[in-house]
Symmetry: C2
Subunit: 362 residues, 2 copies
């Protein structure tokens, strides 16, 4: 096998539930292979491999994160560790020249993320956060239609939600509600997507102000279970709102209001169905005479995908890594920039919450 | 014809565009008849009647509002006048013992509305604002499902929009953007529906605070063309947001987020189609194993209606009027109460805008 055909060798650091989905994605992606798994104990890593049918002669099982990072055959690591561990382990990975696919939220705050991204830059490795929905062709098709000024016009308003209701056991004991582990709670876990989607719709332009809305709910340890915020772009005169929660029925909405059109979907984070995905688009809607109906119904735009979005993410990441390895390309700066903007807005929401819902100027 | 079979005789005061739709609704409603039309000139009223095929031997055409109010055969008036004229003419109508179906926004502020409602109470006439969507059986079906605590749970969040883009000529010259006529602009015209829908979802409970969001746009005369606001219910821990605009593509969204379910539709003000209406409802949605899809797609609930919602509004109003006339019932207080709560919140949004987006405590 020639060098350009060798798949990118992934190591997974941390056996979180989401690692099951990503290990399958690495298997499905044509330019990658799962080379190693590490957990804090070899038993945990072994059990994860057995449970997910990953065991093979070629799969390395490590009982510590450091051992995996010391494996010279590992090109890239996928890191679904609790957020509070990102700073340390992401920098370790970068210093070991491992390309880094980091679970969201990327860090506890933008200062931490900047240190991680700096380490990646210094060591010439690719950084990407593991938000999968950017990689679905549906996302690209939506953007194509939103950017069509005749069809859609300017973005006037955006609304997004990300919520689920995992139950009482989760609210007491899950990593995502532990102040020492994932201290950003629902804002970090679910709100990350809303903020990312809103920034995506605004072509990664930072808002002028970010203001949290009343109704922040916390668990007994002080971790956010529900919050909402509004974002405002002064020049564009655009307003966005989002709602995220661990105590609300499962939703993942994105609705983009344009001057000439409307684009929306309810499964932007995880498509309803792996084999097909769609969104709704309306342009030029008017009342019919007498205002007794509309001249059209929303158009359903179906977008086929040959691979699940998480496999497309792995494929895209691996191809960037390959280009760095083989063609000595520089890492793609779009991905750390996207993560950084999301983290910046997330920090601003947090700051607004902490200052009694005062607007935070960006 | 016995007294109980005599239809309620309507007079229309003001030949606004929307009066075309309502005159058709009066015709379609089985318990009402259009008895008279009044405009500021007899030519205008005549032209309206001719244009809408309303001319008949029995239709009276009046060249002044007072003449219509002096007609003893008029039981009830529908009043689609500019908002600034409501206070005067609505009170005149009540004092002439005419039941009052008043276009929204009901008044320039709640103080004015209180005077109108007081006049109706003193004179024993029914008051109702002309928000049609409350009267569609779809609205009733949605509420039935939202109130099912197993299916839907508690209301956690609400988002609504009402927007359209009638074009430059409208933005310069329409009654709805003239400070002396409809000074409430898009907030009064389009925002009325959002506020009404949010209060409806909250079972007509007033929010604890109302806060306008950044991004208020006005025309050169200072009338609101776009605005947004957040509403918060402290006890219920519920947050709602809405967006209304005269410069955005046509939307009329209502999305209600529950702890166990989600209910939403995109045509809540005017159904896409007069002959059928639907909404979406999801309950108990979860990710499937590996988080690669959902266990269900939203259910589309179709609700048939024998008459258009505006005819159902007329029928409901006429039946209340009939009960007062024939059975000496008292006027139904639910309708003025609903209007008053909507107007109160609308006033609070306006006050928040005028005080630099400060929260207004209700």
């Amino acid at each position: 096998m020639s060098n350009s055909e060798t798949p990118i060798h992934f190591g997974i650091i941390g056996c979180a539930e989401i690692a099951r989905k990503v290990s399958r994605a690495i298997y499905l992606s044509p330019n990658s292979t799962l080379h190693a798994i590490a957990s804090r104990s070899i038993e945990k890593a072994n059990n994860f491999a057995i449970k997910n049918n990953l065991l093979s002669n070629s799969l390395k099982i490590y009982g510590s994160y450091s051992e995996l990072l010391d494996d010279p055959l590992v090109d890239a690591v996928y890191m679904p560790l609790p957020t509070s561990l990102h700073l340390h382990w992401a920098i370790c990975a970068a210093e070991k020249k491992k390309h880094l696919l980091l679970e969201k939220p990327t860090a506890l705050n933008v200062e931490e993320l900047d240190k991680i991204v700096d380490a990646c830059e210094k060591n010439g490795v690719q950084f990407m956060d593991a938000s999968m929905w950017y990689h679905h062709p549906r996302t690209c098709k939506m953007m194509e239609m939103i950017l069509d000024s005749k069809l859609f016009g300017h973005v006037k308003a955006i609304h997004s939600s990300s919520s689920y209701s995992p139950g009482q056991e989760f609210l007491e004991n899950d990593i995502r509600v532990k102040p020492g582990l994932d201290g950003l709670g629902a804002l970090g876990d679910a709100g990350w997507y809303c903020i990312g989607a809103i920034l995506w719709a605004m072509n990664q332009t930072l808002p002028t102000t970010v203001t949290a809305l009343p109704g922040v709910a916390r668990n007994s340890a002080g971790v956010i279970l529900t919050c909402s915020a509004s974002l405002y772009w002064e020049k564009e005169e655009t307003v966005a709102t989002f709602y995220c929660s661990f105590v609300s029925h499962e939703t993942m909405d994105l609705r983009v209001y344009g001057s000439n059109g409307t684009c929306y979907l309810y499964d932007f984070i995880i498509p309803f169905d792996e084999n097909s995905a769609s969104f709704n688009f309306t342009s030029g809607a008017k009342f019919v005479d007498l205002h007794i109906g509309w001249n059209m119904k929303p158009q359903v735009v179906e977008v086929a995908s040959q691979l699940p979005q998480e496999a497309l993410m792995i494929q895209e990441f691996a191809s960037l890594v390959k280009a760095i390895k083989v063609s000595t390309n520089k890492p793609e700066s779009k991905w750390p920039r996207t993560s950084r903007l999301t983290q910046l807005v997330l920090d601003a929401v947090n700051k607004s919450i902490d200052t009694g819902l005062q607007p935070v100027h960006m």
